[in-house]
Symmetry: none
Subunit: 224 residues, 4 copies
DNA sequence: AATGAATGAGTCTTCATTCAT
DNA sequence: GATGAATGAAGACTCATTCAT
């Protein structure tokens, strides 16, 4: 699905507002005003507010995929498809691969905090509709990817047996989402108000990366 | 704060609906109808819909505390205050204490899933107002408790140094919330639809408990 | 169905406006303003604009029935139920009975011109929904009544055989509706602008009565 | 007024939709979509939706006239101008002439059912504007024609005196319109659902023709 | 000549809240 | 203390129309 400039403008404004005030807490008027477009344009371009949300879900998914392909061409190491390529790489250890995957997730979530918040909120309710389906597919894909990597590590003897993959997923996603979602409280609670926003974001990313890598290494490799 | 029967009825109905459809997705009319009370009673008893949410936050906190005191009298091991008592217990190892604390959290979240969902949703937005303050206090208290326990374990040489407590918190709460919030997807993804609801809840609780204990043990005690 | 004062006020205002400007040409705002009630009251009392129309159909039907019962008590000769009683009356000739029935119809239509116009308009479209069902039932009842009367007259040898009852119905209702609906053109075309409105209405009723009685007498009794 | 292909396409699509859902119940978008033309073309060609309706009224009138002229050339007996010629025909009896006129009306209405429905609906309201004027002129013309024919018959002693011409008009038009407009109910009420649509239309036409001719003959010729 | 994009005004409906009783 | 009736404000959405191209 291709979107023109105005449509993107609307979706990205909506994304910010949905993240800030929730879907039901945001009015079409709010979006139109903040996006500096006519009120009727939302219905005009997306049909309805619900469909705008669906479009946003599709757009972010699409955007991710596009980014992935781009990244592959650029020989960077942060995309999901690159992930898939990487998994078959014989040179890297399974743990190195897992660390790369973790960093990829963190990167994604940190770069799309608004959308992450929306997903956190939306997945809590409505298990029906297109958004739910998209969330489900995303989760499925992610779990498959991680499963593949872990099973490979186990075959190579680098990872232990008896890994509860769904729970590892919950920890990976849950920890990252929780920190991002409650960063305001995290900042207050740990007296980091003096940091600039940029520093703080870097700080979060680094902490998350270290912490999750440590967790995964411990679970995947240590003797009990 | 004491609430009469009708007030409790309204709050508990609101809790279910807020968890299901979100705060803004639930109308006062919905609540009144489902709670079988007059529409005007919500404003009459709570002043406004916003204050109803605040009251709910206070009520669940209050309710927890009440439960705690009761539990202490019953000499059970699942309350927060009991937690505090337990921390000073010389007989238990620090890891045993941590495991107890983990189970306590899991218990709390599993028993109050509706309220947990509401908190997950609400903490993502609005960092102002009474609810935010309540969430902040809750997080602070929890972090203090865990800090105390971990520092104690470190002093006793049972736990390693260099524990990132806020991140451990994020993992504890994030993993539990994520699993509870996305249990629908978890069930689908792992082909557990045949389980009865009760069995499934037990399954979730057990998995969560094993997983989080393993995680904490690994991080707190293992050599790197 | 019992309606309170305000509900009646809304329905009767809506009736006038629907007759004047059509259902879709009338906004809820128009109705509320003309009826001097709050805009939200229409939804409050009737649920929606569509349901207001349905209520109006029910109300006018109900109103007719109520009138009938009242009339019976008053021993008047203008009600539908009285009609039914009259049909079995041995003293009246079949033609006298038919004339009474014709006058009853004319009376009804002349007294409820607004509603008649609405029915004329609505029956042209939408053959679904509650309004269509009500129109159908009304037509069925009327046709049964006239059938009974005509068959009786035929048995008594007062009416000829071979009467096309559905077409007679179409003439009775069609002629009356046409004259009422196009009275504005009738007045212009026949230079009756000088008449007062009241005189004109009396004139219409008298003309209609004479004309339809003559038509029915000719068809029902004359040799070809 | 000459219309190009697209304009005719638009008008004829509008005619169907106006007949189906009413003028206000039909959106310009509906028309454009069903007519497979660009949305802006309606305004572009007709100026506005109102003017489209006016154009339709003019078009159908124009179309009728055109047909008449054609028919005259073809020596057929169904046109209005032929009517005018016929009236002066010395060979036909006045009743034969009237029967021809009745069939002509029925033919016209049956062939243009959509437009008839629109007229039935529109004449009930708005007595201003160009459409009202067109309806008025049509009614005037028709009444003059019938008047001329009846007066001629009276002069020749074939028709009785004391004919209420406007009421006869109301019966002619009212009966035909009523049957056409309520044909759905007529079919249901008289158990004709098994007929094919074509058969049913023929049936309607035949019944109408027989009925109206019988009515007119009785009124115009019989002794009272 | 024809149209895609855009829009202001208007639609119906729902909302949380108030208030007289 | 409790509530039925009522309402102003706001909600999402649709409309006929315009205009630059």
């Amino acid at each position: 699905m291709e979107y023109n400039e105005k449509q993107v403008q609307i979706m990205e404004t909506a994304e910010i507002l949905f993240a800030e005030k929730g879907f039901n807490g945001t009015s079409v008027r709010d979006i139109a005003e903040k996006a500096n477009v006519n009120l009727a344009m939302v219905s005009y371009y997306f049909g309805s507010k619900d469909k705008l949300l669906e479009a946003l879900f599709g757009y972010r998914g699409e955007y991710f995929k596009l980014k992935l392909e781009t990244m592959i061409e650029d020989r960077e190491l942060t995309s999901l498809e690159k992930m898939e390529t990487m998994i078959d790489d014989k040179e890297l250890s399974s743990l190195e691969k897992m660390n790369t995957l973790i960093d990829h997730y963190i990167e994604k979530i940190m770069q799309q905090q608004c959308f992450s918040r929306i997903m956190v909120r939306e997945q809590v309710l409505n298990h029906t509709g297109i958004t739910a389906e998209l969330i489900f597919q995303m989760k499925k894909k992610n779990q498959e990817l991680i499963s593949k990597l872990i099973h490979q590590g186990q075959k190579k003897g680098e990872f232990k047996k008896n890994i509860d993959i769904p729970l590892m997923m919950a920890t990976l996603i849950g920890t990252a989402n929780n920190l991002v979602a409650t960063q305001f409280y995290y900042r207050e609670l740990n007296d980091l108000q003096s940091m600039s926003e940029e520093e703080f974001q870097k700080h979060l990313k680094k902490k998350l990366s270290q912490h999750l890598k440590k967790l995964f290494k411990a679970i995947l490799t240590n003797e009990e």
